[in-house]
Symmetry: C2
Subunit: 636 residues, 2 copies
């Protein structure tokens, strides 16, 4: 067969098809396993019973063994009387001796001294289980391909089967590579510029969930010959090799050269996001897949290529409940939901969104969690995946999408928070959990939070919005947004707002006036954030034009994000709360103290999530945690 | 609180409610676990990141690190030129040194000798991931109650977390009891009257599927003090004790006495079938459940009482997808189907039927597998469970029921065989499997099989029916049943019918004439079985009235069942096929050779199951197996 040119920039489906066309399923083999350890395995051969079950004439009831002939003509009115040598007590499961051929239930008899009164005639064999009644020696009791269930395990042991041949699973090796990669066990090697190797942790977990074994090799440096030798020496011992090859362009080229030198590249680049730099080759007839380095990219290729490939190698492509995608991702439920926010997808690529879900009234909403392919947080935090097909570019707010939900979520007990960001709220989660509820947080800013409440797209919001006209907080904004509805307000705490600057304040920033100084770089917050409203108000008061502030255009979504840019030397100053400065060990110059209010429509006041949230707010343990963050003063 | 009288003969729901009212959930505790081994566990506490991810200023792209200020005004038309000391190559994930504050993508640059031409202006921080961009040191990255997923494992390791506290699971001990029970590992103890202890195998498997630990104690004899001491010494170390207490009445009383002597009986007898003899007590505040001895009875109590009780002890009653019943039984799918046969349920008990399922045209059928509570075969072979509620008594054929299907079944590739019984067909299973198909067998007899085909309630039938008028086989029956449809016939083989008698033929049975002899006991087959038709024909020919044949009324559904009763001494003779006699090592006196024909409607001729079946019939390996059974002659 002529070798095809490598598929370049194909879809995931095309890439997988190329693998299936090119790589043959493995010939099935089996290996012996003790019955007790075989749960979940697949039988490699038919199993026959080694003995009869039951293996002797057993009574099916509690009663008296006797000869059926001796009961002829018995009736309740005219019972037959049997002397002791003509009957014998037997428990359920007990032996019916050869001198008897039936058992009468104790309920159909009475004893008068030692005479048994039998009130019912029996036929030969009544209530006697002959040997092999359940299964007979030599009978096929399980067939090749059957999964081993607890019920089958019990039957096998009853039938005298100790060991069974299980279908051997494909053997996979994962080879992490990269000069910058170090084992997460070696904290001493984790310096600036090195990255802990955690993709093997992800893959080990996925393989464990899928029920396949995975070996992980030592970390290889970016060295052509070392990678080549590692693949060459492993290829005979494995059915599939995965190479974790980093995302830098140079490394990918290097891996491609190794693959080409050993075999035939099947596909390179895939029209998916993340996951684009995936590649696969056929080396000595076996599949070798290059996994992109970013965690989510690696997960996408694991779900969309590796799992289906394992099923193909086993020749079990069509088996199983649900799609291969659902099996691979561990999808619990498929549910339609509407996008909470518009999403611009890239042209010509299928996009995998890690989403959260919430339900408000009868509407179910999903939204992608912020974070690129590198974000392990977004991957771990997602409730499920939404796939945007490549023909879709603009996904408007409200568009119906299909969520592959992988986590158990109680939609009736979960509330959606949209509003102002505060680290104190991020600490609420486990307190809600212990009250049977759950909250998902979207830090969209004070104004956007109130607007979401008004659109009935959130259960609860929070705001700290100064009215530049009056200097009063929140009132005018809330009145404007609530319209005819009734909203409840809870003044949660006062918090200190001020200037977050590097430790020791090297740029000697003293007030907002310094923002206009040359060489001072600000990191800003998004429009509609309470802190942004305050900043614009302060700039206005100080007569500073935004265009004269370097970094005014750089926006962060949370206080901690802004502070982290100061800590990293990417900005000199941010307006933000004290707790963010303290968390990052930065200096803080207080400017004002502002009220931070929770707001929720009264229609949600009996929602289990709102009830739980209100209870948490007065929980002394949570309050102590918040006080530890710094810069908070309670209202009461 | 006053002690309630034990609930007697309550429903499963009432029994469970009594447990929940009386036994408090456990206070949650945690124990440390290495992240790598924690998959599937539940976090006992919130987990915070031990380090920033990333932990240094990392480039988000492949490109050149530089100062953003140096790119001011750059455009493709007027690129900015940078000398080598003003930029530095950086890979994705590489360090952005403190002397730089942005990274330009390689695509937005070109190199001219050593001069970097930059065609795009950058802002400070562009393409730089600040430390903690993904997660920040001290941030809550997983909350109490979160399940440990592969994605979370990877995040935890990236964030420097090595060990996490997992919620401790309830500890359960199973105590098998009974003088007749022996370990299945001790074949030497397995004599007549002893039974291998396999309920612990079943329970171990179920607990493994559920994700709970289970310890199994040594087998205890039926001894009041020994059982009492075993419970007393275990009760402080376990959260739940299960006592496997046999099904004989005496034993149950004995277990009840032990329970009463140590604590308070909560319920006794449950209105379910099987499972009726279940019982539970509260001993030192802990639940102790008596599991009935029959395997299916034990399974019912495990599904309906033990699993929900474990969830209650964990205080996780309401969590999870699907009902507790579905979780306990491992239900993959709930499907409506019609009963293939009428079923009489017992009054006042909920009945658990172990069912198989098949689909013919658009109709989905289920039927219970024969076998009582003692049948491990029926338990292992079932595709799922149908629960008949206690108010239902007569369940007519065609009634819609709900199948909790626990096995993966390809309904499109499965065929339903209804017809004459032959061991050769029982050997077809794995050959069909290897061809991607599947067949379920119902040995209903030749006439009932043809009638089922006529009602479109089977894909294929088999018959060997002599026409007493003509002495010809099958033709007249098939013509009568097929009506206007077109049925295909496949003459599979000829097989020997004759008299099956005990080894050595102690009763000296020579012909059908001996059936009328006093002291000779027959075991018969059901009306409509081809063998029964033949028997009645032979009796008629020999001038013997059925009433004069002892055992004429005792019916078996298969040749092997009939033969096993001869082997067990419960009958002296059966009419049946040679292979059944040989399987049971009995003597066989041939009477005739009969054609055994498969019949299927032509509408099914392209059904994958029929196609596979026809292919198996000429498979030399299957044919060799059949020849080994004895008494078969091929048509070709």
């Amino acid at each position: 067969m002529a070798t095809l040119a490598p598929l370049q920039h194909g879809s995931l489906g095309e890439a997988l098809a190329r693998l299936r066309e090119t790589i043959a399923p493995l010939s099935a083999t089996g290996s012996p396993c003790a019955v007790e350890k075989a749960l979940g395995g697949l039988l490699f051969q038919d199993i026959t019973a080694r003995r009869n079950v039951p293996h002797y004439r057993a009574s099916a009831v509690d009663g008296y063994a006797l000869k059926a002939l001796t009961t002829a003509g018995a009736s309740p009115a005219r019972p037959v009387n049997l002397t002791p040598e003509r009957y014998s007590w037997v428990n359920t499961g007990g032996i019916v001796n050869a001198c008897y051929d039936a058992v009468i239930m104790v309920e159909d008899t009475s004893l008068n001294d030692e005479i048994l009164l039998v009130s019912k005639p029996l036929t030969v064999g009544a209530n006697v289980r002959p040997p092999g009644e359940d299964v007979m020696k030599g009978q096929v009791i399980a067939r090749r391909g059957d999964p081993v269930t607890p019920q089958l395990q019990a039957l096998l042991r009853a039938a005298g089967v100790e060991e069974i041949p299980l279908r051997t699973l494909p053997r996979t090796l994962y080879l992490p590579t990269g000069d910058e990669i170090v084992s997460p066990d070696r904290a001493d090697l984790l310096i600036e510029g090195t990255v802990p190797e955690t993709n093997s942790t992800l893959l080990r977990g996925l393989f464990q969930q899928w029920g396949y074994p995975l070996d992980v090799g030592d970390i290889l440096p970016d060295d052509f010959m070392k990678l080549r030798r590692a693949i060459e020496s492993a290829i005979d011992h494995y059915d599939l090799i995965l190479v974790g090859a980093g995302s830098a362009k140079g490394k990918r080229d290097h891996t491609a050269e190794v693959f080409s030198s050993l075999g035939e590249i099947l596909f390179r680049w895939v029209r998916t996001r993340p996951g684009r730099p995936a590649m696969a080759a056929k080396i000595k007839g076996k599949p070798v897949v290059c996994m992109p380095g970013f965690p989510m990219s690696s997960a996408v290729i694991a779900f969309a290529i590796v799992y289906p490939l394992l099923r193909h190698l086993e020749d079990r492509w069509d088996e199983g409940e649900g799609s291969l995608f659902s099996q691979a991702t561990g999808t619990l439920v498929l549910e339609e939901a509407e996008l909470l926010m518009s999403h611009s997808s890239s042209p010509g690529v299928e996009e995998w969104l890690r989403c959260q879900v919430a339900q408000i009234g009868g509407r179910k909403f999903v939204w992608p969690i912020a974070g690129g392919a590198s974000s392990m947080w977004a991957m771990a935090e997602a409730d499920g995946l939404v796939i945007i097909p490549e023909e879709k570019l603009e996904c408007p707010k409200g568009m119906q999408v299909l969520l592959h939900r992988v986590k158990k979520v109680s939609l009736t007990n979960r509330i959606l928070f949209q509003g102002s960001n505060d680290p104190a709220l991020e600490r609420v989660g486990s307190y809600l959990r212990s009250r049977g509820a759950d909250m998902v947080l979207r830090s969209v800013g004070s104004v956007a939070g109130l607007a979401a409440l008004a659109r009935q797209e959130g259960h609860v919001a929070a705001c700290h919005l100064i009215d530049p006209q009056t200097g009063r907080y929140n009132d005018s904004y809330i009145e404007r947004f609530q319209g005819d509805a009734t909203w409840r307000r809870v003044l949660l705490f006062f918090r200190q707002q001020g200037l977050i600057v590097a430790k020791g304040n090297p740029k000697e920033i003293r007030s907002v006036d310094d923002f206009a100084r040359s060489g001072v770089i600000l990191v800003n917050r998004q429009p509609g954030a309470g802190t942004r409203v305050l900043l614009d108000h302060l700039l206005n008061e100080h007569g500073i034009a935004p265009v004269s502030v370097q970094g005014y255009g750089k926006q962060c979504l949370t206080h901690l994000d802004a502070a982290s840019r100061v800590a990293a030397g990417l900005a000199d100053v941010a307006l933000g709360i004290r707790s963010a400065a303290e968390a990052m060990d930065l200096d803080f110059l207080p400017i004002t103290e502002e009220p931070y209010e929770l707001v929720y429509p009264d229609i949600h006041e009996n929602h289990p999530g709102i009830v739980a949230l209100l209870s948490v707010l007065s929980d002394p343990q949570w309050r102590a945690e918040v006080e530890g963050l710094g810069g908070y003063r309670w209202n009461d």
